[in-house]
Subunit: 99 residues, 2 copies
């Protein structure tokens, strides 16, 4: 999800993993694992990645968070019920109309 996305973005830009991992100051092996979904990135890394890949920071963060949520509910019975419970408990701030 997040993983496939960053791989696509990187390939579109014709960059090597080595270049990304250098820019992120991380071991190449670790970046490889992140790109394959074996490991998760940390938030700051996601943010830097968005810059490096000219991607929307918000979008990447959403995918990254979606992965985390999926890790929790993905295998559970009634996963959708759980998501609904959470959705109801969230108070999404309405954009107040300008006066």
């Amino acid at each position: 999800m997040f993983a496939e996305k960053i791989r696509q973005l990187r390939e579109n830009k014709q960059l090597l993993q080595r270049q990304i991992s250098a820019a992120l100051e991380m071991d190449n092996a670790l970046y490889c694992k992140i790109e394959r979904g074996d490991r998760t990135a940390r938030r700051e890394q996601v943010i830097k990645l968005a810059e490096l890949l000219d991607a929307s920071q918000e979008e990447l963060l959403k995918l990254w968070l979606a992965d985390k949520v999926y890790d929790i509910v993905g295998e559970e019975d009634g996963a959708n019920d759980i998501l609904n419970i959470v959705a109801e408990s969230i108070v999404e701030y309405q954009k107040s109309k300008p006066i």
Copy 2:
């Protein structure tokens, strides 16, 4: 969410925290924190709790998982977007109709 639920169930049954924590073989202070939402229970504890409180194991587990999901997305921008992404990626097994 999970926390308030177990507190209500316990109070309805007129039990003391001490009694629950003894049955769960856990420190009283820890159970207190769980009931207040300061700490999270572990899965086996949730299951035992459902028994002790005569509650539906499935329901309690859902609330417990919902808390975990909320911890991830609750404070995030576009939390609902994230939940939608996850919902779409979940393949909920359809109950196949008996022939």
